[in-house]
């Protein structure tokens, strides 16, 4: 249980982030639901948490902006008094073949998916150091381990997140701040709904557990990493991918 703990989940208005926000709230955490543009969807997540008897707030911020991140962290601490769990989930895709990928497509994915993790981690570290407690969980991706054609930008960012997880884990361990990552495989979200039937079939052939994942599959592993059960783990990346990459 995460009673009385405060969690900030970035990119929590939909997809995996939404599932994580709802799961942490079910465990008793007060949840700050960050969003970049989808205010209505973020508000719906907040209302769902409150309807379930929990506490939540929504907070707009572009994780790639240091100023936004500073204000977001301050708003969460002002509202809830502390900050125990950060889930770096916000991410975008701009897929394109290497030959066609524009510099802007590369930069924007790196800024949100990689720099965003750096800025949010930096932003919460001060509060967590003061508390002498913190759990940071980064949502990477299995393609950050395996690579994926058409995703040079996304894969570079996610592999970067896995590396940063280890570096930050080592740097913050002495302050009782643990940093771990999850690497989801193919999870049904808006991102995967865009795939064709043929692409889905090809994907399923690669997954030993023979199904696409759900946001909840990832959320439960994040909940584990946020809990006391993971007290002796840091710097790890857990694959949540139906066995696709071993």
């Amino acid at each position: 249980m995460l009673n009385e703990q405060v969690a900030l989940v970035t990119g929590a208005s939909r997809g995996i982030g939404r599932a994580i926000a709802l799961e942490l709230a079910r465990q008793g955490a007060k949840v700050a639901v960050n969003y970049a543009g989808s205010e209505d969807k973020a508000e719906a997540v907040v209302q769902e948490i409150i309807a379930g008897g929990g506490s939540a707030m929504k907070i707009q911020a572009d994780v790639a902006s240091e100023e936004d991140v500073k204000q977001m962290v301050k708003a969460v601490v002002d509202e809830f008094g502390r900050l125990d769990i950060l889930v770096n989930n916000a991410g975008i895709t701009k897929d394109n073949l290497l030959m066609r990928m524009k510099e802007e497509e590369f930069d924007s994915v790196i800024n949100t998916n990689l720099k965003g993790v750096f800025l949010c981690t930096k932003g919460v570290t001060r509060q967590m150091m003061k508390q002498k407690y913190g759990r940071i969980i980064n949502v990477a991706s299995i393609v950050g381990v395996s690579g994926n054609p058409g995703q040079a930008n996304y894969v570079a960012a996610k592999a970067g997140v896995i590396g940063m997880t280890k570096s930050n884990a080592k740097e913050l361990a002495a302050r009782n701040i643990q940093v771990n990552a999850v690497a989801p495989g193919y999870i049904t979200t808006d991102m995967t709904d865009a795939l064709t039937e043929e692409q889905r079939e090809q994907m399923l052939a690669l997954i030993p557990l023979k199904r696409l994942g759900e946001g909840e599959d990832v959320a439960r592993v994040v909940r584990f990493l946020a809990s006391e059960d993971a007290a002796y783990m840091t710097g790890q990346t857990l694959h949540v991918d139906g066995g696709m990459v071993m």
């Binding site: 001060r126 150091m129 003061k130 740097e171 002495a174 302050r175």
Partner: protein, 77 residues
């Protein structure tokens, strides 16, 4: 200045668990007081709370000795 020094000294003694006699203006946090980089960051955070001020990253990086901290705080108040 003397009062500032005493308050800074108390925080250093508590935080770094060092003998009071070692905390002199010339003492370097890392070389004389056995602090690592993160200890210094935490110390600066505590000084910010104690003196109710914000010390920017740029200024914080220049704080290497007890005297640096005391002088910076005195110059701001």
């Amino acid at each position: 200045m003397a009062e500032t020094f005493d308050r800074v000294k108390q925080i250093i003694v508590d935080r770094l668990d060092v003998d009071e006699s070692k905390v002199v203006m010339e003492a370097s946090f890392k070389e004389d007081l056995e602090a690592d980089s993160l200890d210094v960051v935490e110390l600066v955070m505590e000084l910010e709370d104690e003196f109710d001020m914000e010390i920017s990253d740029e200024e914080a990086e220049k704080i290497n000795t007890v005297g640096d901290a005391v002088n910076y705080i005195s110059s701001q108040s």
